[in-house]
């Protein structure tokens, strides 16, 4: 069985780091600053798209929380990415309504087309694939969200067309 390994130790972007540290500094005013760990990790993921090891080190230092504890939290919640996501994040809804309307086939199409499994990134780094439970668009089932955009009433054929649009855009 493989467990997640530490990701690449590239020095984190200075400007983003300054923003993150400012956010941490605000939480230090609170009576229980430690309780903001999850909020801080959320902020870090917003900034970097995932949780790079050097960023977790910085969080540990700034909050006085041992890295092992941060690692425990970061690996516990599926929300946190420990590897860099693709340029476009595809969330496929696997909720009841979407599933009944064929989300399983859409997922299979995505896996075949992108040659990745759920939780992975394509070789060219363009897409990553993650499951979602309900996106609140059951009327359009089955739906997929790519970044912030919802694509509904999908068929396998339509799904491939959408992917191709993104690919074309990326080539420009």
């Amino acid at each position: 069985m493989a467990t997640t390994q530490a990701n690449d130790a590239v020095a984190p972007d200075e400007q983003k780091l300054a923003q993150l540290k400012e956010f941490i500094a605000q939480t230090r005013q609170d009576e229980h600053p430690d309780s903001f760990l999850i909020a801080v990790l959320h902020r870090a993921q917003e900034l970097y798209g995932y949780l790079p090891v050097p960023v977790m080190d910085e969080v540990a230092e700034a909050m006085g929380i041992p890295t092992a504890h941060i690692w425990g939290v970061a690996t516990f919640y599926h929300y946190f990415n420990l590897t860099p996501p693709g340029q476009h994040v595809i969330s496929i809804c696997l909720g009841t309504a979407c599933y009944v309307r064929g989300a399983g086939q859409i997922l299979q199409t995505l896996k075949d087309e992108l040659k990745i499994d759920v939780g992975q990134v394509t070789e060219d780094g363009l897409f990553s694939l993650q499951p979602a439970r309900c996106l609140g668009a059951c009327g359009l089932a089955p739906v997929v969200m790519i970044d912030d955009k919802i694509h509904g009433d999908l068929t396998p054929k339509k799904m491939v067309q959408i992917l191709n649009q993104y690919r074309k855009q990326a080539k420009k």
Partner: protein
């Protein structure tokens, strides 16, 4: 008289007990021992394993007795048919995700899970489900991590953070995929692990074991070209008997010396001798710093886990650390120089083996900073546990063997050398010698009771020629953290600080025998008995001060010159430097 007591019923019998305790604690005092696994009295309550469930009248579900408070009038059942079955099922389910390799396991016969399964009456396996499989972490010089054997009781994680303050381990991921690992799933060797081995001590299974060097040693003992030289740490003799079923607290040094010779060692020396040597150097260093206003407090450096902790967590205190090497490394340096010259042998032909109560000594032995004239000085480190196994495997009647003495010239020790193994002992030994070297007078009351015992942090004052010296002693790295924070805030608060990495000092080391059947890991009563064995050794000796050890005097006369001489500095002193990954000191730590 009993006005504060409450009445509870356990299995239809009435008992008067103190309020404010858990059902398990109350039952313990009434002659019950509810089966348990993740519970340890020194650690926080996890309530994870559910083995200690009991039935309480009026409560719908079974409750974990380790986490449930007693109340007046409570009716508790600990042994109903349903409970026994539920408990057995719980343990069976634990076993379901555990390898079925007891007879080839490192802890066969010493395993808490095995004992528990036996006492639950598990004679066949009913459940067969998916079983986890991960690679072992073999990266560390000292500790092996095998997640396959882990039952996720969390004792190691709590030990590492709550008692040791190292916070190396965490339970990462969730559910069936949960694994105990260091941050970022780093190999142990690259983590903040201090190699103290306390995770091994508290692990109920073989998920943590020491890196075993016994086969290597057996092989080398058969090499006719090697001169094999052993040294034995003080705490090994105080605990090894437990590995053969003897009660704790018997001094077995004679049996150890005889056993090692039976195993084929050419010379058997005593680390207590070099403890005396350490005191000569360290006490002199202390006096020099007091007189020349050098960096104070002086902080002891003989605990290897503590040294790694210091380099990662407190590198700002490096100038305060004594440059004197540990007794093990001093003995090894003397074996490969002074002794090699004496017996006219090329030191490269000498195999220097240290028998230690410690897993971190395996790490220390491999440190390049401790090399002497380009040579590694301690070739192999064997823990007390490994020695127990070796003696059994070699077919030696350890318990009944005729005791023998250690060899000269590195075998004679003072009482001060013996107490090195107990928290406070190094300080006490150093003060005995420093006082007399400084004042030229005899210290009458040489037993420093203020720094004896198992309080986490102990403080004392001694008068040295009109000057008050303030001393502090800490054992367990979490307690060390308390003292070091005091030092960080006010460097003039103490003159001399002793730190031992393990609870109780070396007697509670990470390489000591697994607990006896009716005991628990790091049981304080057991530690007290081991300590008494060493204090007893001290009291029996006519020579109780390191500087009066005639063989130490001879070593200085014939070889080293005087303490802190150029040669001493070359062979007996070293320097440390900051190491990564940097440890994060958690502010929540409390004294235990």
């Amino acid at each position: 008289m009993d006005s504060n007591k409450i009445t509870i019923t356990i299995n239809d019998q009435q008992y008067k007990v103190d309020p404010g305790q858990t059902v398990m604690q109350a039952a313990d005092k009434c002659g019950y021992r509810i089966p348990r696994l993740c519970y340890h009295p020194k650690l926080s309550i996890e309530g994870a394993c559910r083995v200690c469930i009991v039935q309480i009248e009026g409560v719908r579900n079974y409750v974990a007795s380790c986490a449930y408070p007693v109340a007046d009038g409570m009716k508790i059942y600990t042994n109903t048919k349903e409970l026994r079955r539920a408990r057995r099922d719980i343990v069976e389910l634990l076993l379901d995700n555990h390898p079925m390799d007891c007879h080839t396991c490192d802890r066969d016969g010493n395993c808490e899970l095995q004992r528990l399964a036996y006492s639950m009456g598990i004679r066949q396996r009913h459940f067969e489900g998916e079983r986890k499989h991960y690679e072992k972490d073999l990266s560390s010089t000292s500790v092996i991590r095998d997640p396959d054997k882990c039952i996720l009781c969390g004792r190691c994680v709590r030990m590492c953070s709550e008692i040791q303050g190292v916070h190396c381990l965490t339970q990462a991921h969730r559910g069936f995929n949960t694994v105990v690992m260091p941050a970022y799933n780093l190999p142990f060797a690259e983590s903040v692990c201090t190699a103290c081995g306390q995770c091994i001590n508290v692990c109920p299974t073989a998920s943590f074991v020491e890196k075993n060097y016994t086969q290597d040693l057996f092989e080398k003992l058969n090499d006719p070209d090697l001169i094999t030289v052993a040294q034995v740490a003080p705490s090994v003799r105080a605990a090894i008997g437990e590995g053969f079923g003897l009660p704790p607290g018997r001094n077995m040094e004679g049996q150890i010396a005889a056993t090692l010779r039976h195993m084929g060692f050419n010379y058997v020396f005593d680390t207590q001798f070099s403890a005396d040597l350490t005191i000569m150097e360290e006490a002199s260093e202390f006096l020099e710093r007091v007189q020349s206003k050098g960096p104070l407090p002086l902080i002891t450096s003989c605990s290897s886990a503590w040294m790694k902790y210091m380099e990662q967590f407190y590198p700002d205190l490096i100038e305060n650390i004594s440059t004197a090497k540990s007794p093990m490394s001093m003995a090894s340096a003397m074996i490969k120089t002074y002794f090699a010259e004496k017996i006219k042998v090329d030191p490269k032909k000498i195999l220097s083996v240290a028998f230690m109560c410690c897993t971190a000594k395996k790490y220390e032995a491999a440190r390049p900073e401790l090399e002497v004239r380009g040579m590694r000085t301690t070739d192999i480190v064997i823990t007390t546990r490994e020695l127990v196994w070796m003696a059994k495997s070699a077919g030696i009647d350890f318990v009944n063997i005729k005791p023998e003495k250690f060899d000269e010239p590195l075998g004679l020790s003072s009482g001060a050398g013996a107490i090195f193994g107990v928290t406070g002992g190094v300080m006490e030994a150093a003060i005995r010698t420093a006082y007399e070297l400084y004042t030229g007078e005899t210290l009458i009351d040489i037993e420093l009771n203020d720094i004896r015992g198992f309080k986490g942090v102990k403080e004392a004052k001694v008068m040295l020629d009109g000057q008050e010296l303030r001393l502090a002693v800490a054992h367990g790295l979490g307690n060390a953290h308390q003292v070091l924070e005091m030092v960080r805030k006010d460097r003039s608060r103490f003159h001399f600080v002793e730190v031992m990495g393990c609870p109780g000092g070396c007697i509670g080391g990470g390489g000591q025998p697994y607990p006896l059947v009716n005991s628990i890991p790091l049981d304080e009563e057991c530690l007290k008995l081991r300590a008494q064995a060493l204090y007893g050794l001290d009291r029996e000796k006519t020579i109780r001060r390191s500087h009066e050890n005639p063989d130490v005097q001879r070593l200085y006369r014939e070889f080293l010159g005087r303490p802190l001489s150029e040669k001493s500095h070359e062979l007996l002193h070293t320097h440390y430097k900051a190491k990564l990954p940097r440890g994060i000191v958690s502010p929540e730590l409390k004294i235990v």
